[in-house]
């Protein structure tokens, strides 16, 4: 390409604005996070406090709240990622094709994704309301109408996180379905025709044509869904405040509380660094698995 022409001055000019913004708002904060995690610092102190070595990390790891927040977040991700991905793929396969009822289903599944998490959380808090003096939420109302015992839902330590899992899948599955649907269109019809000529039934066609065909899309969807699940915040913050008994508190919520309720920036940043490492490790692990699987198939 244009041998001999000096291209780096133009490159510097074109890259400078993005580089400046990313440095200012990603690299500087990231460095500040690592630095603060190694110091004692409160939210209100203007300057960085004394060096603390790894004390903040020890405090975070020993904190039972951090442990339960990690457990809750992991539980949420381990349920949401496979269920939502499988459901999205199933729905995509179902709505892929002609017919007015397919269009209706596609639209119905997609509509919840256009609600923000804030709106979804407030709506479902209302739907999940337990039976009380002032009446109950819609779900318990309908339960009562058909003779099912009323459930405590968000007020129960055993049900609250599952309730959040359920509504999160309801809200998010439509977007993944659309991405799978687009991925399915990239598989050439000839491959299905060839498989039919070879006498492959629909389950074998799925295994040998559809699945390899959407493998790249699947890898993207799983990665994106995992990151979405790990950064869980809005739902527990608005619906349960992390309760009951801390059973829905997430990692991001823990960080925000450490910084703004306990006013301990050192602790919050140490938790942030650990969270960052966890997100990185999970993503790299998934990528390696996906690559091995693609190489094998």
């Amino acid at each position: 390409m244009n041998a001999g022409r000096r291209e780096w001055p133009a490159a510097v000019l074109l890259l400078a604005p993005a580089a400046l913004l990313i440095t200012l708002f990603v690299l500087v904060p990231a460095a500040a996070m690592v630095n603060t995690s190694l110091h004692l610092q409160s939210l209100t102190a203007p300057q960085t406090g004394p060096a603390a070595g790894l004390d903040n990390y020890r405090a975070v790891i020993a904190d039972p709240d951090f442990r339960s927040a990690t457990g809750n977040t992991a539980f949420f991700a381990v349920l949401v990622v496979p269920v939502q991905t499988a459901l999205a793929l199933l729905l995509a396969l179902w709505v892929d094709g002609p017919g007015w009822w397919r269009r209706v289903l596609r639209l119905a599944v997609f509509i919840p994704t256009t609600l923000s998490l804030t709106v979804t959380a407030v709506l479902w808090k209302l739907l999940y309301e337990p039976a009380g003096a002032a009446g109950s939420g819609l779900i318990n109302g309908l339960f009562q109408a058909v003779g099912i015992a009323p459930q405590p839902f968000l007020t129960s330590p055993h049900q609250a996180l599952l309730c959040i899992v359920f509504m999160s899948i309801w809200q998010g599955v439509g977007f993944q379905m659309m991405i799978f649907l687009a991925g399915l269109q990239t598989i050439p019809d000839q491959q299905y025709e060839a498989a039919t000529l070879d006498g492959a039934g629909s389950s074998r066609q799925f295994l040998h044509v559809t699945l390899p065909g959407i493998a790249p899309t699947l890898a993207v969807v799983v990665t994106v869904t995992t990151i979405f699940a790990l950064k869980l915040f809005v739902q527990p913050y608005l619906m349960t405040h992390g309760g009951p008994l801390g059973t829905t508190q997430s990692l991001v919520q823990y960080m925000v509380r450490a910084a703004f309720t306990h006013r301990d920036l050192g602790l919050a940043c140490a938790a942030g660094v650990l969270f960052l490492l966890a997100v990185g490790a999970v993503t790299v692990g998934q990528r390696l698995l996906a690559r091995r699987w693609e190489a094998a198939s």
């Binding site: 074109l14 904060p29 396969l93 993207v220």
Partner: protein, 286 residues
């Protein structure tokens, strides 16, 4: 033609409609509840009456408008989203073009790091980002609290690794002939980017703008951390206005929720086709 398409049993249409009904039931209920007197919302829950806006009233919507400062939150959110998307197109477009067309030392290495950083969710650095942004708080005295807050809500999110990645893929797929001709005519790279590459990238720009619009219209955590005064709030934070003093009017809350969702539904209706396609085929993989 996928596997399920040819297993066409008579049960498929009714089953699909049932699943569709279950999926939209909460949304239909929300719309119906927002259109009936507040006191009826909880009383109707044990029957299918709850899905009908009966007796019909718009009082929840007027209550929502009276209590939410909707005008202010809408303007704030629009300013934030327009700055992010507009500045983003220029900044990310320029960087993407440099990665797609120019050769310079360290390019592939730099691009590799950038792509890897896509997985970094903003939630991870929200606390240190707040610490960084706070160091410019002195500027609040000159700018005023509202402009300062709107800048703090928007500027950090204009440059985005994912958008650079998406636009670069698009630039790579452009034919080079037109650009080469312009270069031979003595145009510089900046001119080629501004006059030829950017105007030709419209489909990708639509995707990127739409993504920014949806994501930042829905932002909650960052505004929660940054916004102090009432007149700096965004639409999602505005929901909080309904919980500050009792009695909590669920009808008004649902009406407000629908009002702030409408612009998004519109944006999705216009652009979801591009969106899904350009993500599924972007080749973002390990």
């Amino acid at each position: 033609m996928s596997a399920l398409r040819r297993t066409s049993g008579w049960w498929q249409a009714p089953a699909a409609l049932l699943v569709a009904a279950l999926f939209i039931a909460p949304v239909v209920w929300m719309a119906a509840a927002s259109l009936k007197p507040n006191a009826r919302i909880h009383r109707d829950v044990d029957s299918l009456r709850s899905f009908l806006p009966e007796p019909f009233t718009l009082e929840n919507y007027s209550a929502a408008l009276a209590r939410s400062h909707l005008g202010t939150t809408l303007v704030n959110t629009l300013v934030v989203v327009v700055v992010i998307a507009g500045l983003g197109v220029l900044v990310n477009g320029a960087a993407a073009f440099a990665f797609a067309r120019l050769s310079f030392r360290g390019r592939d290495w730099l691009f590799g790091i950038l792509v890897a950083s896509i997985i970094l969710p903003i939630e991870v650095i929200v606390i240190p980002l707040f610490m960084t942004v706070r160091t410019s708080a002195f500027a609040m005295d000159y700018l005023g609290e509202r402009p300062w807050t709107l800048a703090a809500l928007s500027l950090p999110f204009a440059a985005k690794a994912f958008n650079i990645f998406l636009l670069r893929q698009h630039f790579l797929s452009h034919p080079r002939a037109l650009e080469e001709a312009a270069l031979l005519d003595g145009a510089g790279w900046i001119t080629v980017f501004w006059r030829i590459a950017l105007p030709n990238a419209k489909p990708a720009l639509v995707t990127v703008v739409l993504l920014d619009f949806v994501v930042h219209w829905n932002d909650f955590l960052w505004p929660l951390v940054v916004c102090q005064g009432q007149d700096t709030r965004t639409v999602q934070l505005g929901m909080g206005n309904f919980f500050t003093q009792p009695p909590i009017s669920w009808g008004a809350i649902l009406a407000y929720a629908l009002l702030i969702t409408a612009p998004l539904t519109l944006a999705f209706a216009v652009g979801q086709r591009w969106l899904a396609k350009s993500i599924a085929t972007s080749g973002l993989r390990g």
